[in-house]
């Protein structure tokens, strides 16, 4: 199934999608990589506010290549490997109410459990398709933490139009896609013997 979705996403909209569905996203992305996850959770645990409400945007595992200074332009913005963020993600979903995460390569069982429990989606975009991804970016709305974390790790707020196709990998009702493919692959590999 192919659908257009818009941020902020309701829990109902999130729960209506299934692993394997193809979606195009319009609205706001916030890029968060390893360091930004740590910083966001540290702020939350200290009772301090985040610069934006992550429940109203989609979290994007991405360290974009940008040009400019103050007036930013995104040159390339493909996804980075999501599994690096696995440890931080369940708390990001449960404590900050994140409804959608976009990345690549799949995520683990703890993220899948949090998605099901709290109503969150994890979708994947083609890794390396960074120029196509940048074309969907209408505007860089803001950048936070750039001085502190460096350009790839900063929190970039990107307004996007028809960003996709994204493939739902982990849905909010217990379905997974890449994890199933990988499980079957490991079984097949175990059964292989060279001549």
């Amino acid at each position: 199934m192919e659908r257009m979705i818009t941020t902020p996403l309701s829990e109902e909209a999130v729960r209506s999608l299934r692993a394997g569905d193809r979606v195009y996203l319009t609205g706001t992305l916030a890029t968060l990589r390893d360091a930004a996850h740590r910083k966001a959770l540290a702020l939350h645990r200290a009772g301090q506010p985040l610069p934006l409400d992550l429940s109203r945007v989609a979290v994007y595992h991405c360290g974009p290549l940008v040009r400019g200074d103050g007036e930013w332009r995104v040159v390339a913005a493909g996804p980075t490997t999501s599994s690096r963020m696995e440890d931080a993600t369940p708390e990001l979903i449960s404590a900050l109410g994140v409804r959608m995460i976009v990345g690549k390569g799949g995520m683990g069982a703890a993220t899948a459990a949090a998605c099901q429990r709290h109503g969150c989606l994890y979708a994947v975009y083609t890794g390396g398709a960074a120029v196509l991804a940048a074309r969907a970016v209408r505007r860089v709305a803001h950048v936070y933490w750039r001085e502190e974390l460096g350009e790839p790790e900063a929190l970039w707020v990107l307004e996007v139009e028809r960003f996709g196709p994204l493939t739902v990998d982990i849905d909010a009702v217990g379905g997974t896609l890449t994890a199933d493919v990988q499980r079957a692959a490991v079984d097949r590999a175990a059964g292989w013997n060279p001549e």
Binding site: T81, G105, A129, V181, P194
Partner: protein, 287 residues
């Protein structure tokens, strides 16, 4: 040649490497599209469309413009040897600002990004001195997502070649979609730990579709391609017939007690470019 000319050449080499996908990779991706079904076909088509968009706009194909890595094969009589290392550092600095490249050099102690892709031991330069008076510099910008799936196993020699091959196929199944498949896999077999990893990385310079000149190794490469593709990981781990575009194996004599097996994984965006410089400073480009 002046230091300025050499630095400009390195900057141009990096620009070519990150904005264009070599012809052998494009051919392999097109062949893969033809044999795949959805959702694999859609992923591969996005890769090809993206390569075209990058070539058209002059933007880097992937935001991860990699760790700048250079293989220098120089004739011992090449007259500008002392210019090469400073020119690579300066050329990378310039390309970082001009192309642009994403700053990817982080101090492991402080966590501070140098901002210009230059740091301690970075750019990475591997030297090989041969006979003659020409110098060939190959740029291989190496992405972090695929490099993270690289590994080394020190197997027991009794596990032999079957054990080594089973290790490789199992590893690539477990890597799943993380290294941006379809990947190109470099394997170093034998040597010590460092040599095995070096051979694995260097073997990525061989064209996709090119076999080892050693018949037994070439057969092993074909068997590994078939077995890894049979796992069904597919493009971006979403399932399909194409998990690797190729596997390149290189071997070295090993210690009797050791069987090192190194795997270096390269994403589908297998970017590289090279320039050959004559003793008169004439440059021939490819990639």
């Amino acid at each position: 040649m002046t230091p300025e000319e050499m630095a400009a050449a390195v900057a141009e080499l990096m620009r070519r490497a990150v904005t264009t996908l070599p012809g052998d990779v494009l051919v392999a991706l097109r062949q893969a599209v033809a044999r795949e079904e959805e959702p694999a076909r859609n992923q591969l088509q996005a890769m090809l469309d993206n390569a075209q968009a990058a070539a058209h706009t002059g933007a880097p194909l992937c935001q991860d413009t990699g760790t700048p890595t250079f293989f220098v094969t120089t004739g011992a009589e090449f007259p500008w040897l002392s210019l090469i290392r400073p020119a690579i550092r300066e050329g990378v600095r310039r390309a970082t600002a001009a192309v642009p490249l994403r700053p990817n050099a982080v101090d492991p102690l402080s966590g501070v990004n140098s901002g210009d892709n230059v740091g301690r031991h970075v750019p990475v330069i591997y030297w090989e001195v041969v006979e003659g008076d020409r110098c060939r510099i190959t740029a291989l910008p190496k992405g972090g997502g695929s490099e993270n799936m690289s590994t080394l196993a020190m197997l027991r020699p009794s596990e032999g070649l079957p054990g080594a091959q089973r290790f490789i196929v199992d590893w690539m199944a477990r890597a799943g979609g993380k290294p941006c498949p379809p990947t190109v896999v470099g394997v170093g077999l034998g040597g010590g730990a460092d040599l095995a990893l070096h051979l694995a990385k260097r073997s990525l310079l061989r064209p996709v579709g090119g076999r080892s000149p050693l018949p037994e190794v070439a057969r092993m490469e074909e068997a590994l391609v078939e077995a890894i593709n049979a796992t069904g990981i597919g493009p971006m781990g979403l399932g399909g017939r194409t998990t690797v575009l190729d596997v390149h194996v290189d071997i070295a004599h090993r210690h009797p007690a050791s069987l090192p097996v190194a795997i270096v994984v390269q994403c589908w965006a297998h970017r590289r470019a090279d320039v050959t410089i004559s003793p008169r400073g004439e440059m021939t480009w490819s990639g």
